[in-house]
Amino acid sequence: MPHEISVRITGEAGQGTQTIGDALAKIFSGAGYHLFAYQDFMSRIRGGNNYFEIRVSTKPVKSPRHRPDLIICLDKASVDIHKKELAVDGLLVVDKAKFALDQLEGFMHDVPFNETALRVANDALYSNSIACGFIAGIAGIDFSFVTRALQDVFGRKSDDVVTNNINSARAGFELGMENPHRETFLLPQPDKDGAAAASGLIDGSTAIATGAIKAGCKFYSAYPMSPSTNIMNIIAGRANEFNIVVEQAEDEIAAINMAIGASFAGSRAMASTSGGGFCLMAEGISLAGMTETPVVIVDAQRPGPATGLPTRTEQADLDFIISAGHGEFSRVVYAPGSAEQAYYLTVRAFNIADKYQIPVVVLTDQYLQDSMVDVRGFDPDKVAPEYFNISKEESAKVSGYKRYALTDSGVSPRAIPSWIQDVIYADSDEHTEEGHITEDAATRKQMVQKRLHKKMHGLLAEIEKPTAVNIDNAEVVLLGFGSTLGILQEVTQALWNKKVGFVHLSQVWPFPSNDMLKLLSDARMIISIENNAQGQLAKLLRRETGIKVSKSILKYDGRPFCLDCVIEIVKPEI
């Protein structure tokens, strides 16, 4: 009996792989299993080939495997595309009649999805729920979890739809139960205490959206762009409940400038986009730096240059994001490694932006945005919004206000227009303490020091500590940032006895140089693992600390790393 299985459901865009995926994730998490699920989809609405892959285990899982144990094909084209990737002893499930296959190869198994759907629910559409039921049946899940998940997924539709889905799933479930290969896929019972502690499922987009809401974001503007769009969908869906203005901008330039305007006028504001949109926002980032206006920007990376691969993943914006925007000013760039970190760091991004009156970027990518995991012991109230502007009550006492008053910390008290009796001047030109345009050399120098040196001094004391695991006496230290945290954790776990450890950065700017020097100066061998073609983190590490990595494992085909592949590359280095 394996302690984990990986299942892939594949078909054309529009066939509902995502809906089945959502239902499956709910079934397995409801039953108390750990899971990691992600999507691979093409930049099209119909046709092509998409898949949803879910890895289910009795132990925590945080990354995809190389070869799925079970592949469910929803269309004939999927068979040839995916059969090469099936695990040894795996099963590729086809609908022999529907696909008009003459004979099946040894690893193929026929499930008459179409015919069963027509018989049970009089509609071939219900094939998806039959597939769901089949997977639950073959893995040995109690059917009550299937019922509950389908009610959850289809609950908003009519009773008939819910009943038909459940009946179809039951028919599929029975086919799964009767399957002769069932022993290969049957999962052991999950740990009961662990199941009770399960907090639910979360993906990167939901984590960032709920983090923003938690942080008190009241203004959100964006131009739709994959893979960042889901953040906008989620916040827009909850905007009324939380009194948030959500504005679809005419372009990304408008999005960032609107967010800056809203922030200046007193609202916590965020804009999100992907690399190409961030390029358009670059001057706005510089404006936030110059006018000292707090703003949070999400860059959900996808492979570039230019339009690149719109629905796929990469970590190649690192160099760009830490320096985007002309001129010199302070900024912070967080790079969360998991959905949980994404939630906490989004809240922190708002607090730090407010405290230092700077732009703060949350750097994520398609892989993290679209990956779903179960979370346990997740406490959304561990973090809270912290406000640093002059409050409404304090505003009554303000007089002789200067927006850019020089202080030791570089941070001037930030008043909100109309709250104080004085007027406020903010300027993108170099300016005096009062906010009026100046070309005075001495003032210029003081203002650069304020925005850059003094604020950076404060920010250096607030750096997020890198995560370091098993690095004492390690033969090999793996190094990564952002979405590869799960891979680093699982590879380290797998090679623990072979003295493999890892260091992961969830903040890439200001760079945690002191921490890195402490953690890595004595490392025997450092291998950076990055979803880009240059080893941008390795280069940054060398620039900031002088530390050189021995090797970089780089992946830039638009796909995320998988656990087995990284283990295979790391092993010979030990």
Binding site: I253, S267, S418
Partner: protein, 248 residues
């Protein structure tokens, strides 16, 4: 409240005789009549000579990027509805660099007053053609004369669905103050395009040139008629109408 209550301590950096002085005077007069305290006013601008105007008035000011005044103003208005938001911009800033924001903020129809100081030339960058420069005008960059058609901003605004469209002339300060006040009082997006001589770089569209051509729309003109407004918005050349062309 009088204009002294709106006096800024900043010194003015425009050329002597600049058409912007008349617009500044008119804006201050309109704000005095409007009567809200400086703390409740927000003037937003981009970059250009007109964009310096908020510094010369005692009111909240956000002087942002070239072309990007409108999105900042829109964000501020959505975030803080209590603010009376006015944008001062120029023909290059608003119709060139910020053209997309001009169209979409008309559609957005927030309660914002947009004053475009339209001198038909780029002043701060020293005399290149702007979107409203007349065809054929010779500049350093267009030595053979401007080859492209000049934009009709009022017609464009009407086509995009603007509810309040007016044109003023910076020399007619009392008339212009009335237009600005009407724009501020209009509940929605209001455009006031202001003919403004650039005494340094625009040798064609001078005070004399405008004075000979502008005429005030009289009571016989009905600003509620969109078709008539379209016709008026395209009237340019020997006679140029000023006043409220359209008010929904």
């Amino acid at each position: 409240m009088d204009t002294n209550d709106l006096k800024s301590l900043d010194s003015i950096a425009w050329c002597p005789g600049c058409g912007n002085f008349g617009i500044l005077t008119s804006l201050k007069r309109a704000l005095v009549k409007f009567g809200r305290q400086p703390k409740d006013l927000l003037l937003v601008s981009g970059i250009g000579q007109a964009a310096k105007m908020p510094h010369y008035i005692k009111a909240n000011c956000f002087n942002g990027l070239h072309g990007r005044a409108l999105p900042v103003a829109a964000g501020a208005k959505m975030a803080n509805k209590n603010l009376t938001v006015i944008v001062t911009t120029g023909d290059g800033d608003c119709y060139g660099e910020g053209g997309n924001h001009f169209i979409h903020n008309i559609r957005r129809n927030l309660d914002i007053t947009l004053i475009v100081c339209d001198n038909q030339v780029y002043g701060l960058t020293k005399g290149q053609a702007s979107p409203t420069t007349d065809k054929g005008v010779v500049t350093k960059v267009q030595p053979g004369g401007v080859a492209v058609e000049h934009l009709s901003p009022l017609a464009l605004a009407l086509a995009a669905g603007a509810g309040f469209v007016a044109r003023g002339f910076s020399q007619e300060t009392e008339h212009l103050a009335g237009l600005i006040l009407a724009g501020i009082n209009y509940k929605g997006f209001a455009l006031i395009d202001v003919l403004q001589p650039c005494v340094t770089f625009n040798k064609k569209n001078t005070y004399e040139w405008y004075s000979e051509r502008v005429y005030k729309l009289d009571k016989s003109y009905k600003p509620t008629d969109l078709s008539a407004a379209f016709q008026k918005s395209l009237e340019w050349g020997d006679r140029i109408p000023i006043g409220i062309l359209y008010s929904k």
